[in-house]
Assembly symmetry: C2
């Protein structure tokens, strides 16, 4: 049991679950597990959450607010998508059923875009967190990760967004194609910059450049870290080429983990764009806190 | 034992080994296994070959000619790359050591290109087979597969070539990214054509179109077969965009298996290119036979 526990913030994605015990002054404790949405049946969510947070609970009821894939059709309960353009969070939540009477669980819905078809779950909460501390922000948010999102923000609303599978592609190509023999530990900043420039200057050549990573390894002894940087540069470059309307001449902020933020900030700086940055987990908690505030105000 | 056995043709790649018992009139028998180069240590090649061909052998010595990854540094013995521009086969082979005194094994070297760096092993033999029956051919050969090759041919030589990981990418993306939930059995020719046109018209948009396959499945109920056709169309379209100098206004022939040939022929026909076609295995055997002829003439 934790003294001063006011509520619990949860970021529950496909592959993992993270929970924070929140007090009036901020984070009291943190816990995480690999019990992602992808590994759980509907009746597995409550036990998985209790494994993480039971040590924090006393006799009193506590409010849990969660975002991410936990609210998808395959999640704990479905929190149906809201359709853009709309604010990233408007206080709408869906209740999730809990047997433990101490728990009141609310799930934040994701966003969808009808044309071109696109969806997000979890990033809307980071965006809400960003807007909670920068309500006048007008520009573009980049949220890099397995499925990087670029979102156009204006007047407190998500106007449009686009998803790029860059992280997912990197993992599958470096792990499951012939490039798995070439890509390894290490990093080469010059190779990253060169690949980035190549992909941006000639995006149509991407398909040809990938096998060249293998051939350079065989014929020129390219180091595994240089191959990793080159693959990352090609994929982020292809993403930037496709996302150009989102960043060219725009006011851009990157919300992400430290290594993602550094990589994308470097890539954008090469294109003359100086981006603001913020830490993704902090934004997620701020967005969950804003959702809780909405709930209290509408109660 | 097979009457009339003159020699044995072998196509030995990373993931499988195929052997043909050859007589004066052509193929007498065929055998294959999953004992690819990737699964074998150096001393595993001879036993793996004998498991396939032992039933064909009598007391007499027999000549085995093999192409593919069996001649790589990790293969049975290394047949060092020849460097383009050069004929696809010039009679150079490397001997592979065999304990069984009935076997004389020769490996055909692959080709390499120094700039841009590229390599092939196995396809040079298909190209030699094509040129054995069309010695005057001047144009471009497309050899689709896990690693599709485009080769520019002139005056009996491979002038340049380029590799595209299209098949490898399709397998890794459809099997190991979020698209594995969307892509499935079936096919949709209209979705293939549409994705192909999209990728060729706006190659820079590729990265954005991939996740749309997932989103279309979630929001618009796109069928698994349509998703498969769309992914294939995007990747082949990206390949054609990058390989444009190889096919635009060129005399093109496609050497491959039936389904690959059909897909690439359709894609090229959409771009106004009518390609000749030939069956890959037939070309491989013709190339191995030409190599054997070279060996006999130089003996």
């Amino acid at each position: 049991m934790i003294d001063g526990l006011e509520w619990i913030a949860v970021d529950w994605g496909t592959s993992r679950c993270r929970a924070w015990a929140m007090g009036s002054g901020g984070v009291l404790a943190e816990a995480h597990s690999g019990d992602g949405m992808g590994t759980l049946a509907r009746d597995g969510f409550e036990p998985a959450l209790l494994r993480l947070i039971a040590p924090w609970l006393g006799a009193d009821p506590v409010e849990v607010i969660a975002c991410g894939m936990v609210g998808s059709r395959q999640g704990w309960a479905e929190a149906p998508y809201r359709t853009v353009p709309c604010p990233p969070a408007d206080g709408t939540t869906a209740p999730a059923p809990a047997q433990d009477l101490r728990l009141t669980v609310r799930l934040i819905p994701g966003l969808r875009q009808l044309d071109p078809a696109d969806v997000m779950r979890g990033e809307e909460t980071q965006i809400a967190g960003w807007l909670a501390q920068a309500p006048e922000f007008d520009g573009v948010l980049c949220l890099p990760g397995t499925h990087t999102k670029w979102a156009q923000i204006s007047a407190g609303e998500v106007v449009s967004f686009r998803t790029f599978m860059t992280g997912d592609l990197y993992a599958s190509i470096s792990g499951h194609t012939v490039l798995r023999h070439s890509v390894g530990d290490g990093w080469d900043e010059a190779a990253f910059a060169d690949a980035l420039d190549t992909a941006l200057a000639k995006p149509e050549a991407l398909a040809a450049r990938l096998f060249a990573i293998r051939a350079e390894g065989l014929l020129a002894g390219q180091a595994p870290g240089a191959a990793a940087a080159r693959l990352s540069g090609l994929l982020i470059g292809a993403e930037l080429a496709a996302a150009r309307p989102y960043w060219l001449g725009q006011n851009v902020a990157i919300l992400g983990g430290a290594s993602h933020v550094a990589r994308y900030a470097t890539a954008l700086a090469h294109q003359g764009v100086t981006a603001q940055t913020a830490e993704a987990d902090t934004m997620t908690r701020a967005g969950l806190a804003a959702a809780r505030q909405h709930l209290k105000e509408s109660a």
